[in-house]
């Protein structure tokens, strides 16, 4: 029997206790705050350097059907145990609506049928997990830019927040809910899509049904699954622990281009 080294499973296991939130917040750090703030400069440097190089909507590599991973690993949450989500899943997500609100001119509530009626994009891309593995999958969905155009961004809008149905770490204060955020550079990139299809079929629950984000020039943890709500904001500092995402709140980089 092989014992998997699965960071996320370990974390989920530990997270079942109510103390997990407090524990992870006080986890011993290898670096003092001063050292850490110096080390964090590298993330800014990396993001600026990549943004300089990523001009003219440079695309992530697109592959062919022959390149698809035989098995696309499901990571993170495999099936959200949230009751409301389970009811939606039982109904085939017929009652599911994607809320689009925040700094928009026209808040939207989009059904899967609404999304499928919008322009679609299919892309075969490589998914790179922060742990090091990669899988190639085929994604079909609506470009996020189409949804944002339909809602109309208000002046000052800077980020798209992705609120998800899965609580990845059980906590008393609900801070373990998965969420993510990207800025408008990535939000309007042609390969940034809200995917409802995978490998030619409906998106499976293990991979984020009914809708997940694909932001192809960043790592796997940015590809939020089980999307419930897009919130357009000018800052993500007031959400959860203020770092812009579930893993970001737990020490990972907000800019996950490397």
């Amino acid at each position: 029997m092989t014992i998997r080294l699965d960071r996320r499973r370990l974390l989920t296991g530990a997270g079942v206790t109510a103390a997990a939130a407090a524990l992870s917040a006080c986890a011993p750090l290898s670096a003092s705050d001063g050292v850490r703030s110096v080390l964090d400069m590298a993330e800014q440097l990396t993001m600026r350097a990549q943004r300089l190089l990523l001009t003219g909507d440079a695309l992530a590599r697109e592959f062919t059907e022959a390149d698809l991973s035989p098995v696309f690993k499901s990571n993170g949450t495999h099936n959200p145990d949230d009751e409301a989500y389970q009811r939606l899943a039982e109904g085939g997500f017929a009652d599911w609506r994607l809320q689009v609100d925040g700094m928009v001119e026209r808040p939207l509530a989009l059904s899967l049928a609404d999304l499928r009626a919008m322009p679609a994009r299919t892309q075969i891309t490589r998914h790179d997990c922060v742990e090091g593995w990669s899988a190639i999958g085929k994604w079909t969905g609506v470009p996020l830019a189409e949804v944002l155009k339909a809602a109309g961004l208000k002046p000052g809008a800077r980020y798209v927040m992705f609120h998800c149905a899965d609580e990845y770490e059980k906590t008393l204060d609900g801070s373990g809910r998965y969420y993510e955020s990207i800025d408008l550079v990535d939000a309007f990139h042609p390969q940034t899509i809200l995917a409802y299809g995978m490998n030619g079929r409906d998106l499976p629950i293990a991979h984020g049904a009914p809708l997940r984000l694909r932001v192809e020039r960043q790592l796997g943890y940015k590809q939020a699954k089980y999307l419930m709500r897009l919130e357009i904001v000018d800052s993500f500092a007031r959400f959860y622990r203020g770092k812009g995402g579930f893993w970001e709140d737990r020490g990972y980089e907000w800019y996950a281009g490397i």
Binding site: A31, L39, T46, L53, D128, E131, A135, I258
Partner: protein, 287 residues
């Protein structure tokens, strides 16, 4: 007879110890910055590797795909956790070091052991933070070294093997004398020997650039910016494996490098890389 002849000759021309300028300030500074970067990049790299201690070839690779190298943990017959290093189909028991090692006194699944990683406990996010900061420092330092080496003539003058050094007979002679831990003396010690030059060139112009390029190929952002990176190494997972293999070769280089530093005079070598002055024995008459 031979021995007597030589000692007579030595007596005839008494040797004198002189300090020569061996390393420029730029070489010394970039060398030590590189030492710091390499140590931290290696240990934080092992921390990152531990998040998924398997290597693949090609564009993709995950649990269900074939890996040619893996540091695994298995449950033994008696229920204890055992570490296994798998190379292809070959399984080598490595409990305690690779695959499974002590965490707070208890054997746990762990690719590389805690003492080899930065930080010294399981934390991928912290490992990445150290790795990318020192990757930047390493690249800036390396660029400064390359620029200096080209402009100041360091590569041409000190690193490029000269024609006489590349003669097969000479190379063989150096291999034999190195194996006996006998090193060039006198005038010949003024320059690097051929094996040194080849090793340094291989590290500076092949291994270290491969480390940087394979590292960048693992970045989804860089792959979009520079798509040729993916083709150069045949895929992200190939690049990840080459990153690991090149790192292993660099560790091998450092081990041999340190052994040679000790064998050929620790104090003299250290002084030359700190102050720039290196002592050689010369047969020149006193001025």
């Amino acid at each position: 007879m031979d021995g007597i002849d030589r000692s007579t000759a030595e007596r005839a021309a008494p040797k004198r110890r002189v300090l020569v300028r061996r390393h420029s300030g730029t070489v010394r500074l970039t060398h030590w910055v590189n030492v710091l970067c390499f140590g931290i990049l290696l240990m934080s790299g092992l921390q990152i590797f531990n998040a998924h201690p398997e290597l693949y070839w090609g564009q993709y690779g995950a649990d269900a795909d074939w890996s040619f190298l893996a540091l695994e943990a298995k449950r033994g017959d008696n229920g204890a956790i055992e570490g296994v290093t798998r190379i292809g189909a070959l399984e080598i028991p490595t409990t305690g070091v690779l695959g499974a090692s002590a965490v707070n006194g208890e054997i746990r699944p762990r690719g590389f052991p805690n003492w080899a990683t930065l930080p010294g406990f399981r934390n991928l996010a912290e490992g990445r933070r150290w790795h990318f900061f020192f990757a930047w420092l390493f690249v800036i330092n390396g660029a400064a070294y390359l620029l200096y080496g080209l402009l100041a003539g360091h590569f041409r003058r000190d690193l490029a093997p000269s024609r006489d050094q590349l003669a097969p007979r000479h190379l063989w002679h150096e291999i034999v004398t190195h194996a006996r831990l006998r090193f060039p003396k006198g005038e010949e010690a003024r320059r690097y020997n051929a094996l040194q030059k080849l090793a340094y060139c291989g590290v500076a112009f092949i291994l270290l650039p491969v480390m940087v390029l394979t590292g960048l190929t693992m970045s989804p952002g860089m792959d979009a910016a520079l798509p040729w990176l993916v083709d150069l190494f045949g895929g992200r997972q190939s690049a990840r494996s080459l990153h690991f293999i090149a790192a292993t070769l660099l560790v091998l280089f450092v081990v041999i490098h340190l052994a040679m530093v000790f064998a050929s005079g620790l104090f003299n070598n250290l002084r030359s890389m700190i102050t720039g002055r290196y002592a050689i024995e010369t047969e020149e008459p006193k001025p």
